[in-house]
Symmetry: none
Subunit: 175 residues, 4 copies
């Protein structure tokens, strides 16, 4: 529901109808609507961390480009699978502090993992700036892909992942 309609436009009634259950049951398992979001966010964070965990130790290797493309593809796929949740994170519609922090921490974790794999000798500040730019590209592209046709010329997640992955590899991780 959140992926299709977004968090705010998804009514509890929509959710329970989709789940073939009732309002009462919903509130038996979740304290409130945002609590459901928190639960989904938790799953989403785990999957995103798994994506980061799938990164090889180094990306400045012969098959670094393929690995980068694979990583980007996995990131995009996970993002798409949880777009409703992640958007709710970003859009600030969430009141719960913990859930908000979870989002930030998850992306920070990925950023840290990527930063470790940045080759060359640069100052910590420069490294952080580069990885911030990298994360921005990843997030924004994923966001755009889960919106409607905001990327002219992009005709699917695969193409986007390949293009973006190569770009990222060349710009950030190539030896």
């Amino acid at each position: 529901m959140f992926n299709r309609r977004g968090y705010h436009r998804s009514r509890v009634e929509d959710i329970v109808r989709e789940a073939r259950t009732s309002h009462g049951t919903f509130y038996l398992y979740f304290g409130n609507k945002e609590d459901l979001l928190a639960a989904l966010a938790s799953e989403c964070a785990a999957e995103l961390r798994a994506v980061a965990a799938g990164l090889p130790a180094r990306l400045d290797t012969p098959d670094g480009e393929a690995a980068t493309v694979a990583f980007v593809a996995a990131f995009l796929a996970t993002y798409r699978a949880h777009a409703g949740v992640i958007r709710a994170w970003m859009e600030g519609g969430v009141t719960d502090r913990d859930t908000n922090r979870l989002g930030v921490r998850t992306f920070t974790h990925i950023a840290t993992e990527l930063e470790r794999r940045l080759p060359g000798r640069r100052s910590p500040a420069a490294r952080r700036a580069r990885v911030a730019a990298l994360m921005a590209m990843l997030e924004r592209s994923a966001y755009a892909l889960t919106s409607r046709d905001l990327v002219p010329g992009g005709d699917g997640d695969r193409v986007a992942a390949t293009t973006l992955g190569r770009l990222v590899h060349r710009g950030f991780f190539a030896a």
Copy 2:
């Protein structure tokens, strides 16, 4: 109000109280709440186009870096000034077709202007991919800056603009 609370959480009552006026007056000037958003979006689009118009003809020049930093700073400032509107654009909370298209077209316009200034000989597809990445960085950074503390280490728009501007110049426009 939109910058502080976001479009959906801003009630008409909040808006008119802030503007020291009444509901009736509000609906005298705007057909409905979304109409206000459309009006603000129009202003915002004009300002964003002005930012693009402020770009020098070329950025691969001795003072190209300064110009890039200035452009990024102007972009971030404008984005911040209209964050509520732009977020409403992105978050899909807008029903009106025209307003939605305005957002896409405005960002496409900026992208086109930047693409023209990309130096070197690359295929159109490659140029488009690069500029898409560039726009992603710009947007995501601006978005992050107008959210809460999403950029660890960032301590202000100026620093962010300088850092990001230099990065952008080196990565995309340097000769």
Copy 3:
């Protein structure tokens, strides 16, 4: 406006726009919206009384049928010209006592005039019942004619007046 949209659906703004004047001017001449209705009602009552005044002394004469048809036609025309006002009377949307009474008294006046012309010897109660039925036919037909197509087969006021007038004459006034 009242004829076209009805009293309640006519907004003061509609009225003043039609009259090419302003809200301020409206309230200069009328205390409120209902006050305008009262003024129009007064005119309408005068016209309806004039229609009654146009009745010949007797209707059970050789040219009684023509006179009855003429009366019915005049009644329908006046009703149509003031349909909005009369409907507001009937529909009970008027708060003002005087205006309400004016409506009742006007129709009572017409009823009395018609009762005088009823031929034959009947008890007062019977005469009143007959004239009540007559008035009902007149009013309901007029009401229907000013609504949309409630009278199947009727194709205009003239036809309606002729048909109804003859019917009325034969049923109530013929010698």
Copy 4:
């Protein structure tokens, strides 16, 4: 509520207070205010048709007058019970096409049933005109009875039904 205050002046809050329930419950059972009217209109139409169904095959019989009086009494009673709904029909305050048509068709149905029972040989046009007049009397009288004191001398529905019924029988159905 509709009978007492009329459709438009009845607020949803009035309705739910009277029904000892809440706004939420109201919108659980009816899509909106007009939807309630439609539901009531449906019941009303059924009852009016039942009144027509209660007519004997012929009215030009020895006990035709009693049957006519009974029919008129039933019509008036049903009309009174649903005055608010029927008035909303007539007053054009209903937007829904189906509901509007329901009103017209219901009264047309009754008119057709009455037309069948008109004795004597007359042209179809004449028969239709007569039945239109008859319906006008019925409707207008019922309308008047459910308004305030519009019928001078009338002191109750029974008296009105008897008087009107006899009049109708003599004028339209007597052998």
